[in-house]
Subunit: 652 residues, 2 copies
């Protein structure tokens, strides 16, 4: 049995049958998901001039334009949705959906609005109490008060709990003294800090009575009547790769005094006499509760990355649908770029994955909406559910942003020299989104957090199991071990499979099982290795655990891939339009098979796939590409992006 | 046997032994290769202000600065090396080596100089004859005549033979009439066309006596006394992702008349009466001979990409050597980024591959130098050798430029938010080099050309074989088939191997065999499939051959990977400093093992690797990363880049 004998289901010499066109409006609504109405409204009502190109602007002009556009947005509304009912909200998912819609335009504006109404306003809402809400929320929603979010420091990026800025309580004056001890503790890369922010939410080590209580957030005024207050130092991060409409900068504090009440005190407070109190006993869980309350940022970045990816893909694919490259051998008819299999693989696979990620994002939005509404009502969401959600949010942020970086790179290359010209818009899409893999948590660090969450869940599973469960688990574990280690077994399967490869490969249940099985195996083996590493003497532990970093990253990735595929499958199951279901099923097929193909090394190595099957997967990916090629236009229509928003010379 | 039992050679609990420091000057000379003296001279003599940053400049200012710097270069000299002896040259390799040195600075200047003295001047030298040389070379070398290279058209990127510009001979006036029939035939993305070029080498379909003779090159004046000549139309490509110091533009010709002698007539001529003559009978081989004479451009882009990659890697690695992220668990001592295995894998593997590609590039430069010196002397190089060289040049251009894009992306991410700031220099490195995968031939198209060359060579091998050879070949083929198809056999090997995995994995001969074997297998199976596809009826042939595009790309990749590794191994074999040999051997190990790891899916699928061995490869990669971690500074010193040239805020 050789590769050539594995023919795609549609033989080459039979023309591909083109199914009747489907109602792309239905497809669009399915993809728009839970907040479809809001998205449709935005498409109708958003001012057209929000979407004109900005690539030729100087830093100064781009910042000015972005400021001006932010005022337009303040009038348009939508951002208030993320706030509590009295401020017109109670739909945090709706707020993020609107943020995602901004992602079809200039990313500088999207991020600028995210800094003001997501990060800054969000921190006031989530970490503050009535005294902050009543004084700050209305002005900040109306843009009468512009703020920034001062968490990251020059020397402390990923390890936020180690930031060096201090806020020391002085009972004599009932004030906190905010201070930057050295240059590595400057706040850095802070959107709005260079120019626009009047006020900052500053994260600092709270010290009272000589004791540090860990990181807390404070509202620190930066200027009054347009003049910076004493002790405030600002720096400008200057020109960046992208997002130059946003004024990123640095902040330093030289013993700046703020009132005791400037502490955002939902989760902890300091009394007039300096005594510290918190409903959460452990400093560690207090810190993670605060960070958890801010998780909307990650969900937003994930969604924004997908919107920008959709724009890039639509530009590259519509270009590929009309651009000719070589003449058709034999001379009859023209061949456009997308007629080439290699080009289909380059662009249709990311298109399918964009669909998959969009459905996962919609699930995340729904879950976030429910959890944050509990929080907005002043209660705490269920801890287990919140933890699971945070892990999903981190994982999807990683998947979406790396997908954006990779896909937009591919789009640029797929458009050749045209993709290098600014007026194609691809350069700006690439440049703006590039930092998404870093902000709201570096992807490599986040993915390890996801994996550590899996390990915890895995350990939990053990401790929760009753006797029966334990037995079931043991059997499953045994099966997994057996399937993983017995070469003879899989070789027998190889022979048995030969006749029925194509059908099972396209079976969604089988595809999902393959992904779930991989995740389980990777986590189980990681847990074993981790237990061993952690049992080593403390001096050797760092190296021993570090040795597992790759395994951790793999576990995180396997988890996210399974979750994304399941979300996609669930979305298809919910859909009741047969034509849409049929099309989405092929899109699912392409996505799932392409993951299996990309990971075939793992599957072969762990004897989850025979060599025959690995070859068949590639054949199947190629066949689905050909099948979807005539549906490309419909799939792009499903994104629902008004043509003017594409703003690319490549799509007139 | 599980993964955990496969320990790296240096157990975790024994400290890695740091060998005595080696003489990095020797290492640098080894890496500098055949043109080491020239590179050293450039490091000493290049004006420091060529290397100041340009990221904050407007398009206008950047173009002005680049023009001014080009004049500095004209005075510095070095570019004349690529020309025939009367013009001070006879060292085309030296010219490219100097171009590569410019790659440590602003890529706009590098490419600008490449347009003038590589593409434009190079075409005059290679395709012209005495009448062009005597009038044009001296002024263009002195920059008294600025030219551009008009090949690509808006609608014809990769398929140069189909360009639409015509040059029709008019015997009445003994002139060619150069004409752009429609907008798709405008020359586009032409460096220098927007503003600076006084003259263009224009590629056009030569028509005489009503017959088209295919693509030829003509010298077409664009302006006189600063004013564009009648019939010349110029457009500006405007802002681009990068390389904004270079004025890319468009050219159109409205029946522009040029003298008969403007035809660059080394390979074909038109007599006064309009009769056409050429020493090369076939239009096709004439066209490819002309393109072959211009292959220096590909070699240059490959080298320039590597230089820019070296700058980016040095910035990211020196940053990783001092940047702390998390505290060391247990608290004793700081952990810098490069102490993490994941970070080592991200950056040390590309560092090793950069070494590998540099040695392959040096081989290419030597070969090019010899072949082009034959050409400069007015002779034609050996056709077989020239063809092999062209294939290597195309393959290495693909490998180096994709390596640059991937590596600089990784460098940006590895520097987090700092890597997004312009003053880190990473944004500009990324933006400038991004188009290298497109120009001088789109990588995807080039890689297919490489593979087609392999197929030709493979067919040639058959036809050259005598009876004995045929028998030998058949045996080899059988062995390959057997090894590829018999699962039982490889499973037996699995058991046998268990005891001696680590040693063989680090055996260079084994590593090279693995790469060569893969290439052979891929090409053999491709040849079989291709023969089948080509035998189909003409109407189906396009789809049948297109189905093999992925296989073609794989064949190209496997070929280049083998060639690069062999070049690296040969360089080590030539080196006589034991300390350098020892270090480079580890670098080779990391490079080769990382290729095997990345391709383990293929090796497993084709039963060239057991699952046990595949796991061991990953363990070995990790072990070599740890071993090279303390040698990082020395390896960067080997690049020999003066610190001031890095011009990055991340490396003070």
């Amino acid at each position: 049995m050789t590769t050539t004998e594995l023919r795609p289901e549609t033989p080459l010499d039979e023309p591909v049958e083109v199914p009747p066109p489907l109602d792309t409006e239905v497809l669009r609504r399915v993809l728009d998901g839970r907040f479809a109405d809001l998205r449709e409204q935005f498409r109708r009502e958003a001012p057209a001039d929000l979407f004109t190109p900005t690539d030729d602007l100087s830093t100064r002009d781009h910042r000015d334009l972005t400021r001006q556009r932010l005022r337009q947005l303040a009038e348009l509304g939508g951002h208030e949705l993320g706030y509590a009912r009295p401020w017109g909200g109670d739909s945090p998912g709706g707020q993020v959906a609107q943020f995602e819609m901004l992602g079809f335009g200039d990313a500088s504006l999207m991020i600028k609005s995210g800094v003001q109404w997501g990060l800054f306003g969000g921190a006031v809402q989530a970490l503050g109490t009535e005294r902050h809400h009543s004084t700050l929320l209305e002005p900040l929603l109306r843009l009468e008060l512009v703020g920034c979010f001062g968490m990251t420091e020059t020397g402390h990026g990923s390890d936020v709990s180690s930031i060096g800025t201090t806020a020391t309580y002085d009972p004599a004056t009932q004030e906190f003294v905010v201070h930057t001890p050295d240059v590595s503790c400057r706040k850095d890369y802070i959107g709005g800090a260079a120019e626009d922010a009047d006020v900052a939410v500053v994260f600092a080590q709270l010290v009272t009575g000589g004791t540090s209580q860990g990181v807390h957030a404070f509202v620190v005024p930066l200027r009054e009547d347009g003049v910076d207050l004493p002790g405030i130092w600002r720096g400008d991060d200057g020109r960046k790769m992208g997002l130059n409409g946003l004024d990123n900068g640095r902040l330093g504090f030289d013993r700046v005094r703020i009132p005791r009440t400037a502490l955002l005190n939902r989760y902890a407070d300091v009394a007039e006499d300096g005594s510290y109190s918190s409903p959460i006993a452990s400093a560690n869980s207090r810190f993670f509760t605060m960070l958890g309350a801010l998780v909307k940022g990650r969900v937003s970045v994930s969604g924004g990355a997908l919107s920008q990816t959709k724009v890039g893909l639509e530009i590259a694919l519509r270009y590929a649908l009309q651009r000719t490259q070589f003449k058709r051998p034999g001379g009859d008819g023209e061949v456009v770029l997308l007629d080439y299999l290699a080009h289909q693989r380059r662009l249709l696979i990311p298109l399918a994955t964009t669909y998959a990620l969009s459905f996962a994002q919609d699930d995340l939005l729904s879950e976030m909406d429910e959890l944050l509404r509990v929080q907005l009502a002043g209660n705490e969401p269920d801890a287990t559910r919140q933890r699971a959600f945070e892990s999903h949010a981190a994982g999807l942020k990683v998947a979406s942003t790396w997908h954006a970086t990779r896909t937009l790179q591919t789009c640029r290359e797929a458009c050749g020299g045209n993709g290098f010209l600014a007026d194609s818009r691809l350069p700006q899409l690439k440049a703006d989104t590039d930092v998404f893999t870093t902000f709201e948590g570096d992807n490599t660090v986040l993915l390890q957090l996801v994996a550590k969450g899996q390990l915890t869940a895995y350990a939990q599973q053990f401790s929760d199991l009753d006797t029966l469960g334990m037995a079931r688990f043991a059997t499953r574990d045994f099966v997994s071990t057996y399937a993983g280690r017995s070469p003879a077994r899989s070789l027998v399967a190889d022979v048995v499979e030969a006749g029925r490869i194509p059908e099972e490969l396209h079976d969604r249940a089988w595809q999902l099982r393959m992904l779930a099985d991989r995740e389980r195996h990777v986590v189980e083996s990681l847990a074993k290795r981790m237990r061993k590493a952690r049992s080593r003497p403390e001096a050797e532990r760092f190296e021993a655990v570090d040795e597992l970093q790759d395994h951790l990253l793999l576990a995180g990735r396997a988890h996210v891939e399974r979750v994304v595929a399941e979300a996609f499958a669930a979305a298809i199951a919910r859909c009741d339009d047969p034509a849409v279901v049929e099309l989405l099923s092929d899109v699912f097929d392409l996505h799932a098979l392409s993951v299996l193909e990309a990971e075939k090394g793992w599957y072969l190595q762990h004897r989850r796939m025979t060599t025959l099957r690995a070859k068949a997967v590639t054949t199947a990916v190629n066949a689905v590409c050909r099948k979807l090629r005539p549906r490309t236009g419909e799939l792009l229509d499903g994104f629902g992006t008004p043509r003017a928003w594409l703003a690319s010379s490549l799509v007139p």
